[in-house]
Amino acid sequence: MSLLQVKKVSRFFGGLAAVKDVSFEIRKGEILGLIGPNGAGKTTLFNVVNGFYAPSRGEVLFKGERISGLKPHQICQRGMARTFQVVKPLQRMSVLDNVIASAFLRAKDRKHADEIALETLAFTGLTADRDVISKGLPLGKRKRLEIARALATQPKLLLLDESFAGLNPSELDESIGIIRKIKERGVTIMIIEHHMKVIMSISDRIVVLSYGEKLAEGTPAEIGRNPQVIEAYLGEAQSA
């Protein structure tokens, strides 16, 4: 069962094709990794799926419904949440208030929103920081707050944009644990990540982008053996 279908999506900025004719599907319950060298169009693709950009060509279907052209908040209401690569905490709000603000999407009233928020903080291990003003959080926790906030909207599909970048090893382990727990709850996840070890270990399938085009798609093992992928990555690594 596919939850999300990306059909021949292109997105142009002026004459530049940031994403070109990309098609893939996300199946219910899986973790799909989206990788590719810098500038491959991963975040652009996220923004198209999530509604920040309309696709120049092609369409995106979520739960069988065409969502391209809808606004981000409409897509979020339909059950898709995201985090931002450059974290966007609601700075002058406490950690708890950040999550309450997003919990209101599904909450009946203020009390219910508080409950959802507290539960989400416990789930993501942020309970101890609930009263901290989010401006003052260290980066690792801000990344986690992004995840918590997205989760509080109770999504079916969660888009994670480099939620592991800049974490120290212990934070990394914690975050991987959280992602696995999210998956156990039945939430489908699409994740952009540069950290190869992480993406290879948690993804069920991987889509590789390079210069805006889909280079390969498959299980982590298949991707690890794919000569084109190795060239795109190692070729870069050698010259660097």
């Binding site: 979020c76 609601l90 209101f104 203020r110």
Partner: protein, 316 residues
């Protein structure tokens, strides 16, 4: 102390309600009425610009439309200007929707500039649509409802209390969380499922209608309006911003504190010989001082002010 904190609103309201019984002079009552009226405008602006982050430089437009709604009910239909209160809800909300439709697609400073332009456009239109508004001649009530100021005082006090209650309820609810989320990061708010256009429009309409009420009151209280007075950029729109900046942006009591200071200061400076006409200069200097030393206003930076007055002050 906790008792004080919990009931401070009721205590202040109760004390204010008793004030007219003291037999204060008409001048003191006038100052009190102005302070309360400016608190209302400040609280209204705070809702849109302080909490929701959409900084408006054009609140005179709503104040003026409210005042003219009341004035024209009197001058055109010959009914009491007090009917302006119910009527202005619809009239001001309509104009707020129009302004919102044009301006709310803009962000940050662009929104501020667009509202600034709107305020000026409203004044020019009011000056030139002589058949509708009476132009520069303005509107004058042939006789005011009361000669004594007591009832005016109670009316504006009720408007202020209702506004305070409304702002508090709104800010503690889902609406308040959404407003602040939009202020902090509009893209993040959008991605959390918040319809930013819708909630910004709600903030604008609430803010506009309350400001319009102050305008309705002004017409009935002062008995005379003209476009230069009620659509004034520096005397209404800018003073509105100053009231909240001086008192404390996005605080419940900031607009009230700001209104007290601004109204008293204006009266004091105006009474100075020779310097009186330069009161805008003093306001400009005050604004600069506030921005540098108390960016969160007197209420927002209260802890800072306490420290300034040493340990003695900190204990109380």
């Amino acid at each position: 102390m906790d008792f004080m904190k919990k009931y401070i609103t009721y205590i202040v309201l109760g004390l204010l309600a008793l004030l007219p019984l003291l037999g204060l002079s008409s001048y003191v009552m006038h100052i009190l009425i102005l302070v309360i009226m400016w608190s209302v405008i400040g609280m209204a602006w705070n809702l849109l610009s302080g909490y929701c982050g959409q900084v408006s430089f054009g609140h005179a437009a709503f104040f003026g439309v409210g005042a003219y709604t009341a004035g024209m009910l009197y001058s055109k239909l010959g009914i009491s200007g007090w009917w302006g209160f119910p009527a202005s809800v619809f009239v001001v909300a309509f104009f707020a929707l129009v302004i919102g439709y044009i301006c709310l697609r803009l962000r940050g400073p662009y929104f501020a500039l667009a509202t600034l332009a709107m305020g000026v456009i409203f004044r020019i239109v009011a000056e030139n649509l002589v058949k509708v508004t009476g132009g520069d001649l303005g509107i004058m009530l042939r006789e005011r409802t009361w000669i004594d100021k007591t009832w005016y005082f109670y009316i504006i006090l009720i408007v202020a209390a209702a506004t305070y209650y409304l702002v508090r309820k709104v800010i503690e609810s889902k609406l308040g969380y959404y407003f602040v989320a939009i202020r902090e990061d509009q893209d993040a708010a959008e991605s959390l499922g918040i319809n930013t256009t819708k909630y910004k429009t709600i903030a604008l309409i609430l803010s506009a209608v309350i400001t319009g009420f102050a305008g309705v009151f002004y017409m009935n209280y002062m008995g005379y309006i003209d476009p230069k007075v009620v659509f004034a950029l520096h005397d209404i729109s800018i003073i509105t911003i100053m009231v909240v900046m001086v008192g404390g942006v996005a605080t419940f009591w900031g607009p009230v504190v700001g209104a007290i200071i601004m109204v008293l200061l204006a009266e004091m400076i105006r009474s100075l010989p020779k310097l009186g006409t330069a009161h805008h200069t003093f306001f400009g200097i005050l604004l600069i001082v506030i921005i540098i030393y108390l960016p969160n206003g007197i209420v927002g930076d209260f802890a800072k002010i306490r420290k300034l007055f040493g340990p003695r002050g900190a204990k109380t």
